[in-house]
Symmetry: C2
Amino acid sequence: MSEQRGEGPAPKQTGRRPGPVSSYQAVLAAARREFGTHGYQGTTTRGIATAAGVDTALIHHFFLTKDGLFEAAVGQAFRCDDLPAQIDGDRAQLGERLVAAFLRHWAQPEVNDCLRGVLRSVHTSALAADAVRDLLGEGVLAPVIRQLGVASVERRAALVGAQLVGLATVRYVYRLEPVASLDPQQAAVLLGEVFQRLLVGRL
Amino acid sequence: MSEQRGEGPAPKQTGRRPGPVSSYQAVLAAARREFGTHGYQGTTTRGIATAAGVDTALIHHFFLTKDGLFEAAVGQAFRCDDLPAQIDGDRAQLGERLVAAFLRHWAQPEVNDCLRGVLRSVHTSALAADAVRDLLGEGVLAPVIRQLGVASVERRAALVGAQLVGLATVRYVYRLEPVASLDPQQAAVLLGEVFQRLLVGRL
C-alpha cells in the first residue's frame, strides 16, 4: 500500500473549507472525480486531498483508508436516493419505476463520472470488485427487495444487479446504440417488464 | 502506436509450428491468453508472437494490426458457435436455450480467460470498446436476431447484449453470489423469460 495513515500532526485545514461537513463533502466530491478519471488503482488519497484542498490526515480521519473512501464514493454512484420511494407506488409498475430511477440518478454528471470509474476499477482491483459486489447486494438492492416481501432476496438482488451493470456498461462505456441514446423513460418502458419479473416474479 | 508493421523480411517460422493453419491458431490462442491476462493496452503483438513461437511479421500478415488480432480474439470470446443452432428449436424456449449456449461457451477455460480480459479492456481502450460494441451488435447478436423475423433488430441486439455483458461481469468479475455459482442450466432457467422477451416479445 502506498497509503499514508493520518498519524502525527492534527488535521490541517487549508482554510478553503469552513467546517467538517463541507470538508467531508469536498473530499467525497474530489474522490468521485479522481476515482472516475483514474480508476481505483490510479488514485491516491494524497491526490484526492490536494483536489479537495484538505490535509491527507483529514481523509483518514473521515474514511480511515483509501478503501473506505472508495466505498463511500462507489456508494454514491450506485446508491440511488429515489429508490425507496419507488416501492410505495403501484406494484405492477415497480420494475419500470426502478429502472427510471436508476437512469435518472446515473444521468447526473457527477454520478456518471464516478460510475464509469467504478465500472472500470472492478476489472483491475479485487478490492474494488469486492466493494461493488457488497454494494450491489446488501448495500443497495437487497434491502429494497427485502421490503417487497418476496422470497429469494439475494438471488433477485444479484440478477437485478447484473441487469444494472450491463445496462450501465453498454450505455456509458460501449455506447452501443440504440441503448446509448434512449432517454431514461424510454429505457424504463423497454426494460420495465424484465426488471418487474426479477423483482417480484416467479424465480 | 507502438505497433510494428510486418514489412521487410518474409515471415520467419521458428520451426515449432508446421504450417500456416496451426500458426494461425497458435497466434489466436496466444492472443486470447495475453489479452486475457494483460488487457488490450498491456498486450503487444511482439509478446503474442513470442508466446506463439512465431515471428511478429506473421501476426501482421494474418491480422494486419494489433486491433485486427484483438477483434479476432474478442470474436472468439463473444461469438458462440452453438448460437445459430438454438434458433431452430421450439421458439417458446429460445431465450433459455440462448442463455444456456452462452454460459456453456463462456465456461470453457480459454474462452473465459479471454472474456475477462475483454470485459476489462473496454474500460481503458476506446478501440477495445469499439470492437466489443460492433461485435455485440452486427458481429454476433444482430444476425441471429434478424433470422427470427422480428422488428427492432438493433434495439433487441443492444438490450440482449447489455444482459449478456452484465451477466458475464457479475458472474466472472464481481463473483456476486448466488449468480457466480449457478450452473449454466440453472441460470438459463432463471433468465430464460427475460431473454425471451427481449428476443421475440413486444418491445
